[in-house]
Amino acid sequence: MKTAAALALAFGAVAWPAVAQRPDTTAVDSLAADATDISAVFLKTYEANRTRVPVMPRLGRRDLLPAMSRLVFDRDTMEWHNAETVSDLLSKVPGVFLWRGGWIGRPEPVNYQARGAASVEYSIDGVPFLPLGPDSVSVDPSLFPLSFLDRIEVERLPGVLRVAMFTRRHDRLPPRTRIGVASGDLDIARYIVSLERRSVGGFGLVVAAEHLAVPLRRDIPGSYSNTQAWLQASYLPPAKRFGASIQWIRGGPNRENILSTGTPVDTLSQGLDGTRNDLQASVFLRPGRHGLGLTGSLVAARSGWAEDSILLTLGDPTRHVRYVDQSLWLFGGRVGHRTAVSTLEAEVWHRTRWTPLDARVHLGLAPATLLAGSAEVGYQRHDGGRTNRWLTARGSIRLPLRLAASVAGRAGTFVPHPTLKAAAPVSLTDLGVLASFDHPRLALEGGLWRTAGFEPVTFPLYRTIDGIGPSGTTKWLTVSARVAPRQWFVLDGWYSNPIKDRPEGIPPTHGIVNATIQSKFLPTFRSGIFGLKLQGSMESWGDAVIGRDRDGEPITLKGATMFRAQLQIRLGDFIAFYDRANLQGTDLGYLPGLNIVRFASTFGVRWEFSN
C-alpha cells in the first residue's frame, strides 16, 4: 500500500513538470482579448461607464414643492455626514429629538415637535412603511439599512415629518459593487456588500446585504444584531417609457431587553427578535423628456413582521403574550402630470388592515421663478368608521438679496395611530413660517411654528415611560445656520426651542453644532482623488419631562451636552472612517437610565467600484 502511494507520488512529481514543460501551443491571439489586455478592459469599462441606462423612477416623490419644504440627503450627503443610521440623518432636521436608547444597536425613534410616536411618516420607494411588530405605533428608523438607500427626502410640515426613502439606482452598464467592513468598541461589526447590474436590454438586478452585530460585554445589556437583505429585479426597456420592478427587503433585528439595575428590576428598553419582510411589485409609466408629461404606477406590496414570540413572552415580566405576527397587503395606484410650472398627482391606496382607503391629491405650482405653492388634500378611512381628512398648503417666495420666505399649514382631523382601535380622530391646525438667507459663505434659516395641542403616544419600546403628558398649543422657534469662512472649514447646526410652553417628550433649548474641516489637498493631489474630513459635533439640551411613569408621575430628563467626532479619509470611492461618540465620557443619555457607552468608537472602510 505504502509502495503504491510512493509510486503514485513519484509519478505525479515526474509527470507534473513534464506537463509544465510542454510547449505552449496556444497562440496569443486565440485568447479572448479582455482576458489579458488590462488596458482594453479599462477602456471598455470607461466607455461603458459613459453610457447611461434608464433607471427606476422615484415613485411617490413630490416633484414640485415650495422652497424650504424638504431636506434632501443624497448618497454624497449621507457619506459626508457622520451618520450610522437613518436616525442620525434625521437628527439634522431642526426640531428632531432622537429618543436614543444608547449607542449603536439601540432604538432611536424620532420625536418631532412633541408629537411622540406620530412625529414621522415613512415610505420606501413610494410605499408607506407602516409600523408593525411589538411597537405597532411607531417606526424605529435605526433599523433601516442605510447602505441600501441613495436618497432620503424629508418633507417638513408643522408637527410632522414625511421621510421618503429611495433605494439605490444604478444607471451604468458595468456592474457596481460596494463592500464595507467596520468594527469598533465592544466587538461591534458591520459588513456591507451589494452588487448592482443593468443590461443593454433593460434588465436590472440588485443583490445587497448588510449585517450589523453589537455583541457587547456580559456586563452591558442590550446586545444587538441585524442581518438585512435587498433583492431587486427590474425591467426598463431603453426606448420605452414603461417599466416594472419587484423587490424584497428583509430585516432580522435581534435586540436584547435592557433591564434596570435597581430594585425592583424593570425593563428600560424592550427587546426585539423577529423578521420584517417588505415585498413590492410595481409597473410604471416613466415621465417623458426632461421629466415632464404623464406618469403613473400600480403597486402591490406586502409587509409582514413575524417573531418567535414566546421567547420574548416568557422574558416579559408581565407574562403577557405579545401577538406580533402581523402582515398586510397594500395595493396602490398613482397618476400624475408634470409641466414645467406645475404638477398634479393623485394616489389611492387600499390596505388590507387598519386603513382600507387612503387617497390624496397633490398640486404644485411654480408660475414664476420667485413664486411657488403647493396643496394637498387627503382622505383616509380607517377601521371602525374613523377618518382622516386634511388639507396641506404651502407657499414660498424668493426675495432680493438672497432672501426667501415660506409658509406652511396643515389642518384637518387625524387618527394618529389607526392601529389602536380606541384611537379617536383629533382636530389639528398646525402652522409654520420660515425665512432664509442663502449665500455660499453664510446660510441662515429661521422658523416660527405653531402646533396644536396634542396627546402624544409614547414609544412603547421604552417600557418605563408609560406615557407622555398632553401638550397645549405650542409655539416653536427653530434656527439653523451654516457658516463657511473658508472653503475647507464649515460650521453648521441648528437650534430648536418651544416658546414659553414646555411640552413633554422633547427637551427645550435643543441644539446641534458641527465643526468640519474638509480638504482635498488639491495642490498635492491634483486629480481630486484624496479627501480628508474631520468633524466634531456637539449636541445639547436642557432639563425636560420626557414622559410619565406607570403612576403618572413625571420622568425627568437631565439636560446634557454630548460630543462626537469623526475622521474620514477618502481615496476615490474608497472611504476609511473613525467615529467616536460620548467624547466627554458622561453618564447622561438621551433617556434616563440609558446612557451612551463612554468613548464609544467605530472604525471601518467602505469601497464602491465599477467592475
Binding site: L311, T313, L314, H320, V321, Y323, L420, A422, R550, D551
Partner: protein
C-alpha cells in the same frame, strides 16, 4: 425475555414514541365557582381611571376534547385589543399536575402554574394558552358577549406527556389597564379544583 415482558416493552416504546397528549380519561363534567360581588381591590395606581372589573362567576365544562370556560362579570367587558377602559386583562392559571413544585410558582394562590390563559386577546378572537414548560403557546377561541367571556380550549393545549388527566387546580386574576394592584382574584386566596368528583 418472556412474551409478556416483550409485550410490555413494546407497549412502553409505543407509548413513549407516540408522544400523544390525548386525555387519559373520559371524564365529562361541568363545574362552577362563584366569586363574591363587590370584592374588587381598590386601586393604588390608576392613571387611566379604569373601572374595576368585578368577576362574579366561573363556569365551565370539561370533556375529552375541550375545556369550555366562561367568566361572568358584573359589567360588560371588551376585548383588550379594542383599547377601551373596560378591556379585559388578566390570567387564568392552571396547575395541571396539581403540584406546586412544578411550573412557575404563584404564591398568592399556592399554585405551580403549568399553563395559563392570557386574557388579553390577539385581535382576531383568540387568546393564548401558554405551556410554561415548553415555552410555547396555542391560541384558543374566545367569545365576548356583553358581560361574559367564553373561551374554548382544546384539551391538547392543557396536557403534557406525563399528565393527561382531568384534575386541575385553577385560579383567575383579573387586572385593569395600568391599574395596580390586580382588580379581582378568584378565589381571593388558594385555588379552585376542577376534577370529576366536583361534577354536580
Amino acid at each position: 425475555m418472556k412474551p409478556a415482558g416483550r409485550a410490555a416493552l413494546v407497549a412502553m416504546v409505543l407509548g413513549c414514541g407516540g408522544g400523544g397528549t390525548e386525555p387519559t380519561d373520559d371524564a365529562e363534567f361541568d363545574f362552577a365557582f362563584a366569586d363574591p360581588a363587590g370584592d374588587t381591590v381598590a386601586a393604588t395606581t390608576n392613571p387611566n381611571q379604569v373601572r374595576a372589573t368585578d368577576l362574579l362567576e366561573i363556569t365551565g365544562r370539561l370533556d375529552r376534547q375541550r375545556l369550555v370556560l366562561t367568566l361572568r362579570f358584573a359589567n360588560p367587558v371588551t376585548r383588550w385589543t379594542d383599547g377601551g377602559a373596560d378591556a379585559l386583562d388578566g390570567f387564568v392559571l392552571f396547575d395541571s399536575d396539581t403540584s406546586s413544585a412544578s411550573g412557575f410558582a404563584n404564591p398568592a394562590h399556592g399554585l405551580g402554574v403549568d399553563f395559563y390563559l392570557d386574557l388579553r386577546d390577539d385581535g382576531f378572537g383568540k387568546m393564548a394558552v401558554v405551556n410554561f414548560a415548553k415555552r410555547r403557546f396555542e391560541r384558543a377561541e374566545a367569545r365576548f358577549e356583553d358581560a361574559t367571556v367564553t373561551v374554548t380550549i382544546p384539551r391538547s393545549f392543557l396536557t403534557t406527556d406525563s399528565d393527561r388527566d382531568s384534575w386541575f387546580r385553577m385560579a383567575v386574576d383579573i387586572a385593569g389597564r395600568g391599574r395596580r394592584p390586580d382588580v379581582d382574584a378568584s378565589p381571593t386566596a388558594g385555588f379552585h379544583r376542577i376534577e370529576p368528583t366536583a361534577a354536580p
